[in-house]
């Protein structure tokens, strides 16, 4: 190993050593405590895949823990299956159910998503509660047949340690893969991600299933640990608990949830020795976190569409790019109908767009902003294993050089000037190498100098890449400087279309757009 190790690495090494050497104490209590902490670490890690990386607040994550736990208990005891079948079987069942439930949940966002996850979790609870014949209902599933070799505390501890570490490594790989980058991008800016060709719903669905699967495995391990399963595991307060653990540790970092889970369990053990009012202590910790500590986590033609405010320029754009659905009429690109397609599929046909208002991932660096577009364009969105570090470095740099942002690649995008952010938006749009580039007021809000630079830049790029440009613009100077052809929209209808000189001369255009008194024509 080269160089000195950072203090974080030293700390990690110490923890790892402690975990491996823990059974040497010979204390069963420590080993059980260690196993319990490890199980909850895995549970919190799985939850953070959704919350921290995907920005999806689930109120029902405990349901998957409970499903895994019940499935493991039933497979081992009721069906008398060996562990090598029961454990993967429990995970498989959880994954299956998470896939079905997640399919519906990811159709909603924000509070509705949270509520639907809660509803499904309560449904799982109700089924477990009422289906006494299978789950033991109110009294719980008692007397799980745990395989002989796991009866020894040391063996059991190492078993849990190995499984949790393997899963932890797998989750680490996933969040640092191409998929992980895209997932963060969807969290930061859903719309922007769609417009670099990401199928956001599918990304969220995959995340939901992964998180469910890992939670199921944690639940199955819990069954082996506890040798009984109780229906409270699926109740909403269990979901709240994992949320609290994850947030306390910090959703922004990979190991935050691990620390949160460990700290909470240890604290619980420590405090309940002195007082029975553990909930109140936890509440005070939460209030402290909420009030003080920041939760921040951690073919060649240039066609301009012009028109007065409210003429429907942006609406027109949104219809083309699938953001809105036209009430009538068709939109086609290279002979393929676009109406009814989702933004991400339209983008994959070779369209890209920028937005009138800045639409970027403000907390990612400039490099990552562009990289996300490339990952999506090259079809690596669902690659869970390929590390994203340095992925497409040369391509990203080339795009950044085109828009003149080479120097800024490590800057946090949201902190740059407005003009720079606009340039970066252009870079994001260009990253997918579109054939048709739609620009919604590319110079809106820019200083005069930035406007001039941008005009020059767009003109140069279009020429070099042989791009077709369709853009809306307020600023007539920009329009006449770039466009080969101009269409004028008024009240949602095209009132004139043609080369700049012809449009400039059109009396109707002069009347409605340039504000001149017409010659009486209506």
């Amino acid at each position: 190993m080269a160089g000195r190790m950072s203090s974080a690495k030293w700390f990690g090494l110490c923890v790892a050593l402690l975990l491996v050497l823990l059974p040497l104490t010979g204390e069963r209590y420590f080993m059980f405590l260690g196993a319990q902490i490890l199980i909850w670490c895995l549970f919190a890690l799985s939850f953070n895949l959704m919350l921290g990386y995907g920005g999806m607040i689930s109120f029902g994550h405990a349901a998957y823990f409970a499903i895994g736990a019940y499935a493991c208990a039933i497979f081992l005891t009721t069906l008398d299956l060996p562990l090598v079948v029961a454990l993967p079987g429990a995970v498989a069942l959880t994954v299956l159910l998470a896939a079905v439930i997640g399919y519906f949940c990811v159709r909603l966002s924000d509070i509705y998503f949270a509520m639907l996850t809660l509803a499904f979790a309560q449904l799982v609870w109700a089924v477990a509660f009422k289906w006494s014949a299978v789950t033991g209902g109110d009294t719980g599933f008692i007397g799980v047949k745990v395989p002989e070799f796991l009866h020894d505390a040391t063996v059991f501890y190492y078993f849990v340690l190995v499984v949790v570490c393997l899963c932890g490594a797998l989750i680490w790989t996933i969040v640092h893969s191409a998929f992980g980058k895209i997932l963060v991008a969807t969290r930061e800016n859903r719309v922007r991600a769609e417009f670099v060709g990401v199928n956001v719903r599918r990304v969220q669905h995959v995340t939901f299933v992964l998180a469910g699967g890992f939670a199921g495995l944690a639940g199955a391990l819990f069954t082996l640990f506890n040798r009984s399963v109780f229906v409270e595991l699926a109740w909403w307060s269990a979901s709240a608990e994992v949320l609290i653990m994850t947030v306390l540790g910090g959703v922004g970092s990979f190991f935050g949830p691990v620390i949160g889970a460990a700290a909470l369990i240890l604290l619980n053990r420590g405090i309940t020795e002195f007082t029975e009012y553990w909930p109140a202590v936890l509440a005070l910790i939460l209030l402290g976190v909420v009030s003080g500590v920041s939760l921040s986590l951690a073919e060649g033609q240039k066609h301009a569409v012009i028109g007065p405010n409210g003429a429907g320029k942006t609406t027109f754009f949104n219809c083309i790019t699938g953001h809105l659905r036209p009430t009538s009429g068709t939109v086609s690109f290279q002979g393929k109908a676009l109406v009814g397609l989702a933004p991400y599929s339209i983008v994959r046909l070779g369209l890209a767009r920028s937005f009138q208002r800045i639409n970027i991932y403000p907390r990612l660096t400039v490099f990552e902003n562009v990289q996300a577009a490339l990952i999506s364009d090259r079809g690596l969105t669902f690659n869970l294993f390929r590390s994203s570090a340095g992925l497409f470095r040369d391509e990203v740099r080339a795009v950044l050089a085109t828009v003149g942002l080479s120097e800024e690649e490590d800057q946090q995008a949201g902190l740059m000037s407005y003009g720079r952010q606009k340039q970066m938006e252009l870079a994001i749009a260009l990253a997918s190498e579109p054939e048709l580039l739609l620009l919604d007021e590319p110079t809106a809000g820019m200083s005069p100098q930035e406007t001039l630079d941008t005009i020059a830049l767009i003109g140069a790029i279009a020429k070099r890449r042989n791009l077709t440009l369709l853009f809306t613009e307020h600023d007539m100077e920009v329009v006449f400087a770039i466009a080969d052809r101009i269409s004028v929209l008024h009240h949602g209808e095209i009132i004139a279309s043609g080369p700049p000189e012809a449009v400039r001369a059109d009396p109707e255009v002069r009347r409605v757009y340039l504000g001149e008194a017409g010659d009486g024509a209506t």
Binding site: K130, L286, L287, V290
Partner: protein, 297 residues
């Protein structure tokens, strides 16, 4: 069972009184959700404390005191309102501009605190409040006799629904509240003190939960964990009706009440499953609720 009109009637009335009692609590939840945009998981805890405060006041007032029970219920609503005022002024108001996560953690913290508060102040044994004088017997409704207090719950639930509807739709204050649900920024730029509206809505919402706790106390028994179930039922009502919609909450409460009453009778093993399925179905096909409006983004 199904061809016995007496049983059907009694079940219907049970559902009605259960639903309308829940409405009183859920109305506060939906108001807070609609105006403050805060998902208040502590609402069930406020309901629970309302019940316990009523219990204490009833026992503190001399038994011969006229209207002791009613005064206690009103007292509980006032105590809870005052509590809400303190919570809002000292802590909650700082969280309005933050995202959902800190708000959630905050309401979780309140749930945990309430649990321990009840344990310290009232202990863990099950407590009960007796029916107020004059409501101890059953009345003859023609088809069947029915406990008069449960009948009273139906009436008071409806009265509160009408009163809330009047306040929200017919008064200046109500108009401001409705405006605040739709566009906070606009209201602020018109010179309205939106912070005060938020405070009043939170106080009123929590007072409603306290009132509901007091009114429900004679019809149920007071235990430490009673809040966890109530909050889920209130969420179901709010979801079915539409987040932020008072008429929606009323409809949701009626539906939940009947689903509960007849679910127990017809599919006793799976009435809980039925209720959650309803919640799932509404969220899947009409996430903004039966009487809510689709949000325009």
């Amino acid at each position: 069972m199904l061809n016995n009109p007496t049983i059907l009637f009694v079940q219907f009335m049970n559902g009605l009184s259960f639903g309308l009692t829940l409405f009183i609590i859920a109305a506060g939840l939906t108001l807070i959700l609609g105006v403050l945009r805060v998902l208040n998981f502590a609402h069930g805890a406020f309901f629970m404390i309302g019940g316990y405060v009523t219990f204490s006041l009833v026992n503190w007032l001399p038994a011969s005191f006229p209207g002791a029970f009613w005064l206690s219920v009103i007292g509980a609503a006032i105590v809870l309102g005052a509590m809400a005022w303190v919570i809002e002024r000292t802590m909650l108001r700082r969280l309005y501009d933050r995202d959902h996560l800190p708000q959630l953690l905050f309401t979780f913290a309140l749930v945990l605190l309430a649990e321990d508060l009840v344990k310290v102040a009232w202990g863990t044994s099950v407590l009960s409040v007796s029916f107020p004088p004059g409501f101890k017997k059953a009345v003859d409704l023609g088809i069947s006799y029915y406990p008069s207090y449960r009948l009273f719950l139906c009436v008071i639930g409806t009265v509160i629904a009408v009163a809330l509807w009047y306040v929200v739709n017919r008064t200046r204050m109500g108009r401001l509240v409705r405006a605040a649900t739709q566009d906070r920024e606009m209201l602020e730029s018109l010179g309205i003190n939106v912070g005060r509206i938020y405070m009043m809505v939170f106080v009123a919402g929590v007072a409603l939960a306290g009132l509901g706790g007091g009114l429900a106390a004679p019809a149920t028994s007071l235990t430490v964990g009673m809040d966890a179930e109530i909050i889920v039922q209130c969420f179901i009502i709010v979801i079915i009706g539409g987040m932020g919609s008072l008429p929606g909450a009323f409809l949701g409460a009626l539906i939940l009440g009947q689903l509960n009453a007849f679910g127990v009778m017809l599919v006793p093993a799976f009435e809980l499953v039925l209720i959650y399925l309803m919640m799932v179905a509404v969220l899947m096909f009409r996430p903004w609720g039966l009487l809510g409006h689709k949000e325009v983004q």
